[in-house]
Amino acid sequence: MLNVHELENRHKKYKLKSYTPYLIILLSITIALVSISFFTLNYFNSISKSKNEAAEQKEVYTKNLETKSTVEEKSENISVPIEEKKRIEVQKKQEKILLSPSLDFIKSMESQTQMYKKENENFKTTEITEKKMQEAAKKVKEPVKKIQERKEEIVLPKIEEVKESITVAKETSTIDIKRRDEETDIKHVIKRFNVNHSPALSLFIAKKYYQLENYEQAYNYALATNELNNDIEASWIIFSKSLVKLGKKEMAIETLKKYIKHSSSSQAKQLLDEILSGKFK
C-alpha cells in the first residue's frame, strides 16, 4: 500500500536537497558581490580622502604664499603708516599659525622692526610730506640701509622656506620644481613692481636675476632701482657687479667711484678695490 504521507515528506526533503546547490551558489555570489562592493567603496573613499588632503595642502600652501608675499611687500615699504604695520603684524601672526618653521625668523624680524619703528615714529609724530620723508630718510640713511640689508637677509630664507613647503606638499624634491618656482616668483614680483614701482621690489628682482646669472636683467632692474631711489647701497653694488659681469668693467669702476664720492660707502669701496685688483671678475 502506498504511504502518501511518507512520500510527501520524502518529496519535501528532495526539494530542499535540489535547491541547496542553487542556494549555495546564490549565497556565494551575494557574498562575493558584497565584498567586492565593500572593497571598491573603501578604495574610492581612500582616493577621495587623499585628494581632499592634497587639495587642503594645496590651499594651505597657496595661502602661505599669499601671506608671505604680502609680508614681504609690507616689510619692504619703509615709510608705511602705523596702521599698516599693525596689519602686517596680524598677517605675521597668521603666518605663525601656518608655518611654524619660520617662527624664529619672524620673531627676530619683529625685534628688528621694533627698533626701527621707534626711530621711524619720531619722524611721524610731526606732519610729514613725502619730500620731507625723503629728506628725513636721507638723514637716517644708515638705519635705512641697515634695514634694507636685513630685508635682503629676510627675503632669501623666506623663499627657501616656500620651496620647502612646496616640496612637503608635493612630496617631491626635484631641482626642476625649485627653478620653476624661482622663475615664477620673479615673474610674480615683476608684476607687482609694474603696479607699485617700489624700489625694494626692483632691487629684489635685480638680486634674483644676478643670482640666476642673468646679468643683463640684473643691470636693468638695478638701474631702475637707482632711478627710483639713488641712495640704496645694495642696488649700486648689484649695478656695478652686473656691469663687470657684462664686461663693462670701466663703467663699473666709474659708477662706484661716483657713488663712493656721494655716499662714502664702505661696501662700495671694498667692491671697487676688488674690481681694481682683479679679485672680482
Binding site: L2, V4, L7, E8, R10, H11, Y14, K17
Partner: protein, 271 residues
Amino acid sequence: MKPSIYENSRDVFLDTVNAKDYIQLERISMIYQALKDSIEKPLKMVLLYGKPGTGKSMFLSKLHENISSAQKAYLYKTPILDESEFFKTLAQDLYEIRYDGELNFTQFIKVVENRELIEAIVPVIMLDEAQLYSTSMMEKIRLLSDTRKVKFVIALHKTQKEDIIAKEHFQTRIWESIKLENASSSELKIYIKKKLMKVNCLDTASMFTQKSINLIHKLTDGNYIDTNKLVYTLFDIYHYYAQNNPNKIKGNYISKKIIEMAALHTGLINA
C-alpha cells in the same frame, strides 16, 4: 473526477506483457514489420536486442499472437535453464512427444532431423531473456537451427548480445538482428495517451501536457517498463488524494510534484 477513473487509469499501467496492451507506435510498427518479414525469410535465427524496457518482450508477445494462428509458434517468456527440460519442452511443443526420463541434446537433434516439415513451414520458437541461457546451450540452439527444421527468435539485452556476437561461430550463421531503442518524448506521449484512451480514460489522458511528458521522459529515459511503473504510481497517488484529500489535485494537469513523488516511490529519484 471520480476516484475510480484514477484507479482505471492506474491499472492500465500494470507492468504486464500482454499482446492486448500492445501500443502501435509509428517507429515500433516499422520495426515490427521488419521482424515479421524476417520470420518469413529463410533465416535460421533472428536476434532481437535492446536495453531493458525497450519492449522486446512485448514485441515477442505481439509476434507470437499474430503468427501463432497461421503457423506453429511457441513463446518461452522465461528461460528453461535445465537442458533436458528445455529439449523435453521443445519435443512436447513441436512434435507432441512426451518424455518421462532424461532427454539429451543428441537424442533430441536426431528426433528433429528425422521429422519432416508440414507444408514446408518452419515452426518458430521464441526465447525471451535469452541472455540467461548458457553459452553451451546457445551453441546447441544454434545447432538445432542449422537443421532448418526449427527457427529461433531470440530476445536479449544489448550488453549480452555483444558477448554473443563476439563469438565467431555465431557470426557465421545466417541471421537477422533487430535493435530496439528507448522511446522518444513524443513516442512516450503517444504511448501513455493511447494506453489511457484504450480504456476510455480520456480525462486522465488529456491531463498529460508536453511539459509533464518531458519530465516523465527525463526521469525514465524513455524506458517503457519504468514509464509504466511511474505512471502506475502516479495514478495511485491521484487515487489516494481523490479519496482522502481532493484539494491537492484540483488542477487539470498532472502535477509536477506528484510526478516527482511517484519517481521517488519507484526509485527513479534518489533522495
